[in-house]
Every structure is written in C-alpha cells, then in structure tokens.
C-alpha cells in the first residue's frame, strides 16, 4: 500500500507536472530549433514572441468572455488561440520583411541576425508591455480538474491523492497533436521536405526551384504557432507574467541545444529531459521517502536544490550533455 502511495505521489508531484512543463518547453524548443535550422540563428526574440502571443490570447479571451462566449468545460483561451496565432504570425512576418529579409539578401553573417533578434526582442517586449502590462494575470476558466484529489481518493481508497488539472491534460493533447502534425508535415509533405532541403543546403534548394522566401515564411509561421501555443498553455498551467516568458528562454534554448540544434526530434527530447530533471531535482522527496522507508526520519526536505535554482538545472544538464555528447542527444547541425 505504501509503495502505491509513493507511486501516486511521484505521479502527482513529479511526473504529471513535469510532463506538462516538458511539453511546453518542447514546443518552444521546436520553434527555436526550426529557426536555427532554416534561418541559421538563435532567435532571442522567441520568448517575447511567446509573451506577445499569449498577451493577445488573454485580450481575446476577455473579449470573448464579455460576449458570453465560452467552450464550456474547456478554457475560453483555446477559442482565442487560433486568432492570436494569426495575429502574432502577421507581426512576426512583418518583422521578417522589414528586419531579417535584408540580411538574407546581402548574405550577412548569422551573428548579425542574432543581434537583430535582440532588437526585435526589445520591440516585442515593449509591445507586450503596451498591450497587457507587466502584472501577473490568470486567465484560465472552465473546469479546473479532470481528476481531483478527493475523487481519486474516493475511487482508490489511497491516502495519497492525485489530481490531473484540465490545463495539464489540454497541454498534453495540444502538444501531441502539434508534434504529430509537424512531423507529418516535415516528413511527408512537399513543403515540409522543401524546408528540410533548404536547411541542408540553401543553394541546392534554389537549384531545385524551391522558393527560399516561401520556406522562410513557412518557418516563421510554424515557429510562431508553436510559440504562441506553448506560451498560452504555460500561462494557463501557471499564470501569465511577461518577464517569466523572457526567463523561459534559457530552458528552451537549453532544450534545443541538449537535443541537438536544428533537430526537431531532439528539441522534443531535450524539452522533456530538462523538464523532468528540473522538477525531480527541485522536488522535496521527504514525503515519498516516508512511504518507502518509514523508519528513516531525515532532517531536511530531501530537496536536492531549492526551487529558486531551477534554472541551474537547465544549465547543468546542458553542460553535462555538451561535455559528453558535443552535438547533443540527437545529432544536431552543429557538428
């Protein structure tokens, strides 16, 4: 019985939250890795793109709520998401047209694009602040739990409860759908293969009649859609605060690099590796030790690292992977 309780506690406090967080990171990292593969730079504006898109989702959600529209048990934000993706993608395509395109034209070093993305980051950050401010906002509505602690306890008769929040379930469903669609697109469709071809060899793609600008636009749209979806799910799951979206850039970059930059499968794996490590290392294991080893009374919380240091986990995983597998878990472009 105690082993069951321990398992339920691990599931409830580690596995479920880490899986949801990992799915959010993976979607962000997919965008970063696609832009790295196609546009050949790390986009520092990615976090702020997430924030801007999520800000748009929140405004639209408020609008829909004012109109009395909702999705019943699902959060209204899901209804707003497609519109917000379209709006954010339009803004991102505009930045590509007025900022990045010129550097492709003159074949500038990718580092110039990195610096330009810092400029875009400031602009996006400012726009988000103008749009929605810097305060913390909660915008989840609908049913809170798919399974609540009391329900679970009632069903199983265990001491330890398990809750599955609807936002966590939605995150997993949306992320799974997005990844499935993305991989189908990249591996099966003509446009997706053209993207991979362009990433492999720009000049040869040109010689095959592939329009590079179309590939680039498609990449921006996909990366933005993933970023806004990831940002919205993260905001539903936790809360929206513009600065957190800037900070999440580190685990997202780390996930993309750990997986192997430019490799989409790697980005997903990296996202989950980072998320599981982060949650496992910052979780106080005392309760679970109590179930498994009832005689042992440890003094501390058995927490390897306090939650404030969660960014250190991304960093350490990153360094360890790069030390032992310099090209990432899955072979990235950076051979």
């Amino acid at each position: 019985m105690d082993i069951l309780n321990a398992l339920v506690a691990i599931l409830n406090f580690v596995i479920i939250p880490a899986t949801a967080y990992g799915a959010q990171l993976a979607m962000g990292a997919l965008g970063v890795t696609l832009i790295y593969g196609i546009l050949r730079f790390s986009n520092f504006a990615h976090g702020d793109t997430m924030a801007f898109g999520t800000g748009l989702v929140i405004l639209l959600t408020w609008g829909l709520q004012a109109l009395g529209l909702s999705l019943g048990p699902l959060p209204t934000a899901l209804l707003a998401l497609p519109v917000a993706i379209a709006g954010t993608a339009a803004l991102v395509l505009l930045t590509d047209r007025v900022v990045y395109r010129y550097y492709r034209q003159v074949k500038a070093d990718p580092i110039v694009l990195v610096m330009a993305s810092v400029g875009v980051m400031f602009v996006m950050n400012g726009l988000t602040r103008l749009l929605i401010g810097v305060d913390e906002i909660r915008f989840d509505d609908g049913a809170r739990f798919l399974i609540s602690v009391s329900q679970f306890k009632g069903w199983t008769g265990l001491d330890e409860g398990l809750a599955l929040r609807s936002t966590q379930a939605i995150t997993l469903v949306v992320a799974a759908l997005a990844c499935w669609a993305l991989f189908r697109f990249l591996n099966r469709s003509r446009a997706g293969k053209a993207m991979r071809a362009y990433s492999d060899n720009e000049d040869l793609a040109l010689l095959s009649g592939i329009d590079p600008e179309r590939v680039v636009r498609l990449t921006w749209i996909i990366a933005t859609a993933l970023a806004v979806a990831a940002g919205t799910l993260y905001g539903l799951d936790k809360s929206f605060k513009a600065f957190n979206y800037f900070q999440i850039l580190l685990p997202i970059f780390a996930a993309a690099i750990v997986g192997g930059l430019g490799n989409p499968v790697g980005a997903i794996a990296g996202g989950f590796v980072i998320a599981y490590s982060e949650v496992a290392v910052t979780y106080p294991w005392k309760k679970i030790a109590g179930y498994l080893l009832p005689d042992w009374q440890p003094e501390g919380l058995l927490q390897l690292l306090s939650t404030e240091y969660k960014f250190a986990v991304s960093f350490v995983i990153l360094i360890v992977v790069l030390l032992f597998r310099p090209t990432g878990l899955f072979r990235g472009k950076s051979v």
Binding site: S42, F44, V99, Y102, I111, V112, V114, M115, A116, V118, G119, V120, M121, F122, V123, M124, N125, G126, L127, R129, L130, G133, F243, F246, Q247, L249, L250, F253, A254, I257, G300, L304, S306, E308, Y309, F311, A312, S314, F315, L318, I319, L322, L323, F324, P326, S334
Partner: protein, 446 residues
C-alpha cells in the same frame, strides 16, 4: 578593404561630434525645464553617473566582443557578482556571524570545489565508458557532504540577528578596495564558466553565459547569508561625503551662499560631481589600459586570432587559452562596474538585476557605439543610457501630444499610462536602425 579606409577618415571627426552631441544633451537636461527636460543639474548628473557606469560595462563587453569576438550573454550575472564585493569588503562585521558558521561555510565551499576538481581529474583518467558514471558518483557523494556541512552553517548565520543582519558581514575595509575585489569575484566566475564552455568542441559561450547569469542572480537573491538576499542590503559606505554632512558643514554653507545656490541642490550636485570625477578617472584608466593592451604583442595576437583562427592555431597559438583570458578580463571589468554601481546606490538589491536592462541593453550600447572601438563603447553607452532614462519621460509626453485629438477617457489615459514602456520599443528600434544603416556603429573600429 575600401570600407575600412573610408571609416578611418570619417571616424576622426565622429567621436568629437558624438561627444559634442552628448554634452549638448546633458546641458539641455541641466538647463531646460519643459515636458522633455527636467532642467535639473542633479538629474543630469545622476544620468551621467549611471551613464559612466554603463560605459564601464560596455567596455567590459567590448573587450571580449571586440578583441576576441566572444558573445557574453550573462553581463547581468557578472555585474551582480561584482556588486557583492562592497557588502563583503566595506560593510562592518556582523557580531557573532562569523562564529556562527563562517569557517563551516568556507569548509563546505572548499568541499564543493574539491569535489568538482576530483571529479574532473578522475574523469580524465578513467576509460571513456566509465567517465560519466565515475564523475556522477564522485559528485553525488561530494554534494551530499557539501550540503551536510553547508546547510546547518547557513541556518546558523541567518539565525544571527535576522531582523537587522542575518548575513556573514563585511570586513569593514575602505569601499574603494571593494571595486577591484568585485572584478576578482566576477573574474573567478568567468574563469569557471569559460573553462568549461570554451573547452567544448566549439564554444557555447552565449548559452553558457546566459545560464550562469541567471544562476548568479538567483544565488544572490536566495543566499541570505551572503548579503541578505531579497531583503536587500542598504547602508553601504561611500567614498564621497554624504549630502547631510555637507549641508551641516559651515565651510560648504558659506561657499554655496557665495554661489547663490540652494543648499540641498548644491550638496546633491557636489556629491554627484565627486562620483562623476571618480568614475571618469576609472573609465579613462580602463580605456588607456585596454588600448595599450591592444597595441601590445598580446593585443596583436588577439587580433590575429580573431581574423584567422585557423592560421593562428597552425602557428601554435593556444586559441582557447587566449579566449579564456580575454573573457575573464572582460568579466572582471563588468564586475568592477557592478561594485561601483552598488557603491553609488549605497544599496544591493538582487531583485533589480534584470537581464534585459543589464545584459541586452549593454549590448545595444556596444553595437550602437561601434563593435571593437573603446571610445565607441563609452560614448554609445552614455548616449543609450541617456535615451533609456529620458525615453521614460518622453514616451508619455509624445503620447500626450499624439493623443491630444482623442476624447478624454479610458483609451487615452491607458495609452499615456503605458507610454513609459515605449522605451523598450525605442531601444529596439535604435538597435535595428543602427544595425541596418550603420552596422559598424556610430564610431567604427579603426
């Protein structure tokens, strides 16, 4: 390269012209009182002082970027770490703190570092397949030992007079001494991260520094025993007189009366001028040193490595080692700026270290000023800092003008209220415009 020669002929007048523009802006700020300028010399000098500190940060970034082409994305961390120095060096000792846990903390830190060293040494000597597991085992054991020593010591220190202190306390030495110490602290951290990141097959310095920057700031926020963490540490001693002391000084009163100025204003200006002088000396000293270094054989080698790494490596230059050197020096300069900033504020506020403000804005300064040009970095820094501060005022003023035809009400007041945020937008646009139309910066590299 024809563009280089062109730049050489134009850069002769560019620096003085930019300097003149800056002086003009500061004079406007000091004298003109309207919606755009405060008309207060106190405000103008306040901006100048932070501008000079930003210039030192920009110099630090420019050393690593300009001389070696390395991307340091963790400026905020090195700056924050430098800021620890005034607290540890210049504040008065906390009675009982050291006795409570000082030696134990030092021992714990030594055990932690020792573990890393042992793990590295062992990993280098065991067969490849075991390397990871050997290192993991050693680090796990070491970490448990470290926490067993560290946690009780920290609890003891933090329990010591928690309302007023709770930190390990300072050494009570002169605050000016803490500036180089701040540089040393930052240099130490940079050495650690650089040793790892630059030793990889290709350098991953950008992401590594981004990470270490966040971590250092997190440490400063959470390790209350160091400098009270989020509780902030105020009352850091000053190298210049206090305004209140000046106001109470009869000599100063007499002199101010002679100038026909208000006593409070005059004392503020006096203090700020003293800081400005001190900072200016250090800026000039740093420029002198880095220009001398660039012209020395060492600097020539650095440039040779940057221009053609492969050739330099073929000639037997240890590129990684040189890069590590230059990265550590750059971080040290940033650390000095961090210590100076905390001294100027008299306050260490770990929650205030925002990467956007202290990493990426410094990058805007360097790129706008001119990559690789020390004068460019300094003038770019002061200019960008001026714009950054004033944009907060100009945003609402401009917004009020633009929205003047709109009816009074929700939208208009919302726009005016959120207009200070326009400065982020403005900085982004400045960077993008400079990148596009003057990619070599306002004062291009010679």
């Amino acid at each position: 390269m024809s563009t280089t020669r062109q730049a050489e002929s134009t850069s002769l007048w560019r620096a003085p012209a930019l300097l003149a523009v800056l002086v003009f802006l500061f004079v406007l700020e000091g004298t003109l009182s309207n919606a755009f300028f405060s008309g207060s010399w106190n405000s103008a000098l306040g901006i100048l002082n932070m501008g000079l500190l930003s210039a030192i940060m920009a110099l630090g970034v420019n050393i690593t970027w300009g001389y070696a082409g390395l991307f340091n994305a963790g400026v905020v961390g090195f700056l924050a770490l430098g800021g620890l120095a005034p607290v540890l060096v210049a504040t008065q000792p906390v009675p009982g703190a050291w006795e409570a846990g000082g030696p134990r903390v030092l021992l714990a830190l030594a055990v932690g570092l020792g573990t890393l060293v042992v793990a590295t040494l062992v990993a280098a000597r065991v067969p490849r397949a075991w390397r990871f597991w050997a290192a993991l085992l050693i680090i796990s054991v070491g970490y448990v030992a470290y926490r067993a020593l560290f946690d009780p010591a920290v609890i003891a220190i933090e329990a010591n007079n928690p309302a007023k202190a709770g930190n390990i306390g300072g050494l009570g030495l002169p605050v000016l001494l803490s500036w180089p110490v701040g540089g040393l602290l930052a240099a130490g951290a940079a050495w650690g991260v650089g040793k790892v990141a630059l030793g990889l097959r290709s350098d991953y310095l950008a992401i590594a520094t981004l990470g270490i920057g966040e971590i250092i700031v997190a440490v400063m926020r959470n390790e209350g025993w160091l400098a009270r963490g989020v509780l902030n540490f105020s009352g850091i001693p000053r190298p210049v007189p206090y305004e209140l002391d000046l106001q109470g000084d009869p000599d100063f009163q007499a002199r101010v009366a002679g100038w026909g100025m208000d006593l409070a204003t005059a004392s503020g200006i006096w203090v700020k001028l003293a800081y400005a002088g001190l900072f200016l000396v250090i800026v000039l000293l740093l420029i002198l040193l880095s220009e001398l270094a660039l012209k020395s054989p060492w600097g020539r080698m650095m440039r040779a490595i940057r221009d053609n790494e492969v050739a330099a490596e073929a000639m037997g230059k240890d590129v990684t080692r040189r890069h590590l050197q230059v990265f550590v020096i750059g971080a040290a300069v940033i650390g000095i700026a961090g210590a100076m900033m905390v001294t100027l504020d008299g306050l260490l506020n770990p929650s205030g270290y925002n990467p956007l403000r202290y990493t990426f804005l410094v990058w805007v300064m360097v790129i706008v000023g001119g990559s690789g040009n020390n004068w460019g970095a300094v003038l770019g820094a002061v200019l960008i800092w001026f714009l950054w501060i004033k944009a907060e005022v100009w945003g609402p003023a401009v917004m009020a003008l633009v929205t003047a035809p709109m009816p009074e009400g929700g939208l208009r007041s919302h726009l005016i209220e959120s207009a200070p945020h326009m400065r982020f937008l403005a900085m982004g646009l400045v960077l993008l415009l400079v990148l596009r139309f003057a990619p070599r910066g306002l004062i291009p590299e010679k």
